[in-house]
Amino acid sequence: MDRSSVTFSRLANSAAFLILPVWTVLGILVAFNFLSFSAAVVSAVVLLLFMVGTLYFVLTEWLGVIRWARTLAQGANPNALKPRESIITTDPVAAVGVVWRAWQRERELLAGAVDWHLALFACLPDPLILLGDDRRVTNLNPAARQTFGKDIIGRDLSAVLRAPEVLEAADAVLSGTPTREIEFTQPVPVERTFLAQVLSLGIVAADGTKAVLTLHDITSVRRVEQMRADFVANASHELRTPLSTLLGFIETLRGPAHDDAEARDRFLAIMQDQASRMARLVQDLLSLSRIELNEHFLPQDKIDISALVNKAVEALHPLALNRRMKLVINVDSTVGQVMGQEDELIQVLQNLLDNALKYGREGTAVTIDVKYVSRLPAAAAHLKVGMTVLISVTDKSDGIAREHLPRLTERFYRVDPARSRSLGGTGLGLAIVKHIVNRHRGVLVVDSTPGEGSVFSVYLPLVSATNSNSPLSQSPPTHHLMGR
């Protein structure tokens, strides 16, 4: 039975209810002979018909209003199906209209508040993860999505953050502790330190959220501390030798060789050599410190590799001429741009070319190739064929024995210390290259055949329309050579 229709039983009930008193009055009048029976019957019937008619009209209008009000509850437009105007409908319709408008206003205010809070949540720079029962991830902000790079809603927190300290803190907060703060380190691929805070919401939200996890990157802070210590250690170690040599000669010149002109000339030449070596060393150490400090920040500029290659080759032309060596450039001009830092990339090219020209045999050629590749080495698993450029420097030299390859990029590691020093090397060239390539999320691979020569290959990701800058999520640029 449709609740909003005028059915016979409804009509009959209402009519009966209203007509009974009238008929009673008529009956009494007939009983007291104020009215004849026939007149009473006629008036009774007339009144009944009149009553039914009126009731029918009233009920229809009234139920029409009710039906209309119900459609509003389901979200219909109030102007559709509006009951036609009549004395019954006008007031109720107006009243319902007032309620409806009030409700709409309230809704808009609430929606506005929700949008505002969502926008605030979304633009927070630190990654935020909302946790529900059992460490289940209920929501995360765009910063977190970018950091963790994948869809983790509904999964356990341990699927993305395995550090036991963080999981313990999350467990503690979810079982009652109001807040916990811990520091944890992600040692690979690039060492990063985070300050994680887990805070209890105090209430259980509609989607089950009970706690909030925030991550704050404090890598820079720790790096600076570490670097200060390292720099002091490295610098003093490597500077001690030339300094003591210098002091020795100065002492000799002030003492035994005071009047020996020939010795003086010879010693002064050596002293100048040692002093310039120290100057170069300090320069390189400072470069390295600067690069390391920024290693975990992705570079922001778009760089054209071929232009850089030309600049680097030009700078090293004199050295090549000196040793009667040729610099051969093979650049694929269709190669796109790299997301990088110009000075640092030039430094990479210069260091590699410098090494090739120093260790290559006199009169031979050094080749620089810039091209796409069809196959990537194992260490470059995070790069994509077609979106990667290979920059390789090939030389004809004595080559490097296999056992030295993994440690080539270690600071101050030398295969042949005497030779390296006599050629003016600081021992830091490849370490600098390694850290710059690391910063650019690329890979450095060295291949060498003793007796023939070496190939130093740098693989760099190219700029694409959708470049995912998720430092944490990108799987290892565990470059082929590791070293400190």
Binding site: R135, K150, D156, S158, A159, L161, R162, A163, P164, E165, L167, T185, P187, V188, P189, A378, A379, A381, R402, E403, H404, L405, P406, R407, E410, S475, P476, T478, H480, M482, G483, R484
Partner: protein, 233 residues
């Protein structure tokens, strides 16, 4: 990433989910143990070394829990195909992780001894080896968790690098010991440490291989690329 379709019985999903998060916990703990052991060596910190030894028990407990949970699922749900591989792989990987934890604890034990002596130069190379192994371990866990074959494959291929590093380090330590017999104690500890780290690298490769099996259902040929020349010279 392969999408897992939900089972009709959601408690089945929940049980598999518990298994997953137990493995994740073990993985995180093992990574942390290795990291702490290496730090103990680098910073000559005996406290850190002791903390690794204490925490090793946690890993053993977790492995027992994983076994219990896996048996539960096998007994109650009789899984087939994907699910069966998932449960069996979880069991095997739990075993690998437990052994990795043991190796890390062993490293910490030797660190306690080494810290009494002055450090030899090869310690530096050892830490480099440690770093490399850490990277591969993380890569293998990430590949397992996201079930990505290519990532797992590359972990497997990089075993050569670790072996090369290990060989170079081995030779260097031998040289030091030959030059100065007083360094033999420290040197032999370094040798064992290097071996431990190389073994952890092998376990990481095992995990990668098991991930490939989990996703493809095929076992790989037994000859993985090897680069360890210490036993052939």
């Amino acid at each position: 990433m392969t999408n897992r379709v939900d089972h009709i019985v959601s408690s089945y999903d929940k049980e598999l989910h518990i298994l997953d998060s137990q493995i994740d916990r073990m993985a995180g703990l093992a990574e942390s143990q290795l990291d702490t052991a290496l730090k103990a060596l680098a910073q000559k910190d005996n406290e850190l070394a002791s903390s690794v030894l204490i925490s090793d028990q946690q890993l053993d407990d977790l492995q027992t829990q994983v076994e219990a949970q896996a048996l539960r699922v096998l007994a109650l749900r009789s899984p087939v195909a994907d699910d069966l591989r998932r449960v069996v792989t979880a069991l095997k990987i739990a075993g690998e992780i437990e052994r990795i934890g043991d190796m890390a604890a062993n490293c910490a034990k030797r660190a306690l001894v080494l810290n009494q002596t002055s450090s030899l130069a090869p310690l530096h190379g050892l830490l480099v080896l440690g770093r490399t192994v850490q990277g591969r371990l993380k890569a293998s866990f990430d590949a397992y968790r996201s079930m990505e074959i290519f990532a797992a494959q590359s972990v497997r291929d990089m075993d050569v690098d670790v072996d090369a590093l290990y060989s170079s380090l081995f030779r260097e330590i031998l040289t030091y010991m030959m030059e100065d017999p007083r360094t033999i104690t420290a040197g032999s500890h370094l040798l064992f440490l290097a071996k431990n780290l190389e073994r952890i690298g092998d376990h990481a490769t095992n995990i990668a291989e098991e991930t490939i099996f989990l996703v493809t259902g095929k076992t790989l040929p037994a000859d993985r690329p090897k680069g360890d020349t210490t036993t052939s010279e």
